[in-house]
């Protein structure tokens, strides 16, 4: 058996495939199905629209039990962040410390994730985030792209040849 280009593309930069979450999870299956399509799908109250926590089955504002999983805007900002130095052998493939970020999404949800690409230090609280997706053992999960690193400022001078 040989490793195909697709397999390589799917290998996560951070974790061993054994840490793949259960994509058929009774509660989170819609999130994983959405992530596989490149969409960030999260639960909100079907009656009042409140952003709900992932395991919430009823709204704490209006008491409705109508939980609707739907795609939300994949943007937000850093609510808290840490750089994890402890790397458990066999679970963590990365050879350097890695970030874990609690992202507050524009939709009001908060979601803990790592970054889409290796990064030496945790981003600052308040930094803008765009959500992408990693693949862990074949299951897509949300990951943070830091806007500062992703969006390179374009200046007219960039197109000019520097003497």
């Amino acid at each position: 058996m040989t490793t195909t280009a697709t397999d390589l593309a799917r290998a996560d930069w951070l974790l061993a495939p054994g840490l793949a979450p259960n994509a058929a999870d009774a509660v989170l299956a819609p999130l994983y199905a959405g992530a596989a399509r490149g969409e960030l799908v999260l639960p909100s109250c079907g009656a009042c629209g409140l952003a709900l926590e992932l395991e919430q089955r009823a709204c704490d504002r209006c008491d409705s039990a109508d939980v609707v999983w739907a795609a939300v805007a994949p943007t937000g900002e850093v609510h808290s962040a840490t750089t994890v130095h402890r790397r458990e052998r066999g679970l963590v493939l990365a050879t350097e410390p890695y970030p874990v970020v609690d992202v507050e999404l524009a939709s009001g949800h908060r979601l803990v994730m790592t970054t889409l690409a290796p990064r030496a230090s945790a981003p600052a609280i308040g930094e803008a985030v765009r959500i992408g997706f990693r693949s862990v053992g074949g299951v897509a999960v949300p990951a943070a792209e830091l806007a500062a690193a992703e969006i390179r400022p374009v200046h007219p001078s960039d197109t000019e040849v520097t003497p």
Binding site: L19, S80, T82, V84, R86, Y98, V100, H109, M113, I125
Partner: protein, 396 residues
């Protein structure tokens, strides 16, 4: 209440006390199953109380969740030779359980539904072939929110508490020196506690040289897991162990259900009602409390709880810690046995045991002079569940 409902010897309205205390050796080496450790602690607690198993009519059990399959259960009663019990339950409010067990025992005794209740906690996360950190990193599974978090690199409990610490320091304008001050003052107490597993003196330089686990938390910001057990005997009758009575005067709970969404703090805040209710029931004010024994799995939790429970104004606990007030000789002696950071991590038993020691006056070189009232704070989850006790060495 009819006379028949009251066990022989129980006096309705009389204070309920902690009359026995038993600890195993706190081991940093693998070995000991939770059931064996629990049995040892129960035997020690009954001997300390001057009682036998025939004096016991209640048993409450609790054990650490998730890290190993052979947890304590109500089967412990059968295993350790107890019989003819009126109260037998396995409680579970995550880390707050141990403190809640004492409250459960007191309520049962006050209601005349039991007379002498043993509460026991055992844990044995250290197993051959891996550190406790390794055991925790491998536990949690692939289901639910925990499965998603683990697939995001949140292995064990340190990264989540690191997010809490980073957010707390951001909101309060603090810095890692605040965490350092907690680690150093807690160690200063542990130096004088023979039951503490880390007793070497620590200064700020030593703290800063310690291994980073997950910023801003270093290894010295984290509890020391042990294989061990602790048990207390709660009774409506005086013990026969020759110890001064330690009465449970106040009890309180709070489960704020803090939301992880925009518009609120996800990682800390809430729980004040547990402390307020316990102090009000006891007829005590925060200023009456001689020692604060708080569940401190990570240094930042001590700071959060001092503020939450009203011992420090919001946002000031870091400065209070840096002033040295929490340590020996300070104005707010806190976690006087070395807490979970330097003493031993047996969940709520860690603060409870130390409160009893201080009220008995048997703290030796770490004894705080003139203590008559102790506050015990237990938390569970990610500071989601709070259980508090006010203990007093004099009758109400």
């Amino acid at each position: 209440m009819t006379a028949a409902a009251v066990p022989a010897g129980a006096v309705p309205g009389a204070p309920v006390g902690i009359v026995g205390l038993g600890l195993t050796t706190m081991s940093l080496e693998p070995g000991g199953a939770p059931g064996d450790l629990a049995a040892q602690a129960v035997t020690a607690a009954l001997a300390d109380a001057g009682l036998t198993k025939r004096d016991v009519d209640g048993l409450l059990v609790n054990t650490s969740q998730g890290v190993r399959p052979d947890r304590l259960s109500v089967a412990l009663a059968r295993q350790i030779g107890l019989g003819d019990l009126r109260l037998l339950e396995h409680l579970e409010i995550k880390g707050a359980t141990t403190v809640a067990m004492v409250a459960r025992a007191v309520l049962a005794i006050r209601a005349g539904m039991a007379e002498t209740v043993v509460c026991v906690f055992a844990d044995a996360p250290l197993q051959p072939g891996g550190s406790a950190g390794s055991t925790y990193a491998h536990s949690g599974g692939s289901d639910g929110v925990r499965g998603l978090e683990r697939a995001s690199g949140v292995l064990g409990s340190v990264p989540t508490y690191a997010l809490m610490a980073a957010r707390y320091l951001h909101v309060t304008g603090g810095n890692p020196d605040d965490l350092c001050a907690v680690a150093v003052s807690t160690r200063a107490w542990a130096v004088h506690n023979p039951d503490a597993v880390v007793r070497t003196p620590l200064d700020a330089e030593g703290y800063r040289a310690s291994r980073m686990i997950s910023t801003p938390l270093r290894v010295l910001d984290c509890a020391r897991p042990v294989n061990g057990a602790a048990a207390v005997v709660v009774s409506g009758r005086p013990g026969r162990g020759g110890h001064p009575p330690v009465h449970v005067l106040g009890m309180g709970f709070d489960h704020p259900v803090r939301r992880r969404r925009a518009g609120t703090e996800s990682w800390f805040g809430g729980g004040r009602r547990a402390a307020d209710d316990a102090l009000a029931m006891a007829g005590r004010r925060p200023a009456d409390v001689g020692v604060r024994e708080l569940y401190d799995p990570f240094s930042v939790v001590t700071l959060c709880l001092l503020e939450e429970y009203g011992f420090c104004a919001p946002g000031t606990a870091g400065a209070v810690a840096r002033s040295g007030a929490l340590g020996p000789g300070g104005d707010l002696p806190t976690n006087t046995g070395g807490g979970q950071l330097s003493g031993f991590y047996l969940q709520g038993m860690t603060p409870l045991v130390e409160a009893v020691v201080q009220l008995r006056g048997t703290g030796g070189a770490r004894q705080v002079p003139g203590v008559t009232t102790a506050f015990v704070g237990g938390i569970g989850g990610r500071i989601d569940h709070h259980a508090a006790l006010v203990l007093d060495r004099e009758a109400a």
